[in-house]
Amino acid sequence: MKGDTVMAFALDTEIEKVYDEYADQLYRIALSHSGNKEDAMDAVQDVFVKYASINKIFLDEEHRKAWFIRVTVNRCRDLNRKGKVRHYTPLEEVYDVPDKENDLPLRVKEMLEDMPEKFKAVLILHYLEGFSVEETSEILKLSLSAVKMRLSRARDYVKEKHKKEDFYV
């Protein structure tokens, strides 16, 4: 992964800079996992609190970015396992939900709904966030073959669920 030569001491303002750089992406990933805005915000806040409280050395910006994404994914999984994800209104009962700035496109929500966690993470990072298979494997610390297999199964899952044969991507 590329990296610029940077050596920095974190002051209070560093958190704000880091937040501005990563928050939108982390929020999207958390929202894709949890399915609702409030849980996504909780997860992202927990991640930044963890970042602020540990004294981890990052090799470069890419290393730090990968850390943030991985911790966000793991945090969402933890919240799901602990049953802290709030029950939300099934999509069938919602009509004409506008695409807000802080919410996912409806079709993306539908695709991700009820998808097993391990498929979700690779699918979100690869298809939605645009990471390559190699980058996805580095971020999630999975082997390349594991990522490829999960992507394949995620596609099969979507196909099966929505009974679609055409791929747009």
């Binding site: 990296g3 610029d4 030569t5 940077v6 050596m7 920095a8 001491f9 974190a10 002051l11 209070d12 560093e14 958190i15 704000e16 937040y19 928050a23 939108d24 982390l26 929020y27 999207r28 929202l31 894709s32 805005k37 915000m41 992202v44 806040q45 930044f48 609190v49 970042y51 602020a52 409280s53 540990i54 004294n55 981890k56 050395i57 990052f58 090799l59 470069d60 910006e61 730090r64 695409d99 700035e101 802080n102 919410d103 996912l104 496109p105 079709r107 993306v108 695709m111 699918l123 298809y127 939605l128 966030e129 645009g130 596609r155 979507v158 791929f167 747009y168 991507v169």
Partner: protein, 166 residues
């Protein structure tokens, strides 16, 4: 899987503004100093240090104590052009470095089975035999950084060697 339109909309999704306030408030009490090191910088510094250490080790002059003894009439019988020569036996616990500008010092070269003029030799292990063609002029020989004067002492009719300062 996802249309380009969906992906574009997805990537335009932004974190709510209230999240920033919450995060900054929650993290305000726990700032931690943090360092970021580029792996290339670390590797470059480590490589420079390694080169420096190796250079110092390789280039340093051996400092083990040395002894020089004079043996008269050593192998000179096989060297017909020498009228009178002595063998200087240099012994050390460590390696031996010698150098000289004189033309009167020789070492035996086993490959050519002959004696070659000594200019410099490095990292000779423990023992070295040098032939000195005795002359009226004193000769200077540097061994492991120490400078020696080799000369014929007419009073004692013997070859002497003494250490002198540079």
């Amino acid at each position: 899987m996802f249309s380009k339109c969906d992906i574009e909309k997805y990537r335009h999704t932004k974190a709510p503004s209230e999240l920033k306030r919450a995060v900054l408030c929650a993290t305000q009490k726990n700032p931690a100093p943090r360092f970021m090191f580029n792996i290339k910088t670390i590797s470059a510094v480590a490589a420079c240090l390694l080169v420096l250490i190796v250079s110092v080790v390789l280039l340093r002059t051996p400092t083990a104590p040395i002894t020089v003894t004079v043996e008269e009439l050593a192998v000179v019988n096989t060297v017909s052009r020498f009228q009178k020569s002595v063998t200087l036996v240099v012994e050390s616990e460590g390696k031996i470095d010698v150098k000289t500008k004189e033309n009167s010092f020789y070492v035996y070269d086993s490959e050519s089975n002959s004696f070659e003029i000594l200019n410099s030799l490095k990292n000779v292990k423990n023992k070295l035999e040098i032939i000195w063609q005795v002359s009226k002029d004193n000769a200077i020989l540097e061994i492991n950084g120490q400078v020696f004067e080799v000369f014929y002492d007419g009073d004692t009719s013997s070859v002497q060697i003494k250490e002198i300062k540079k």
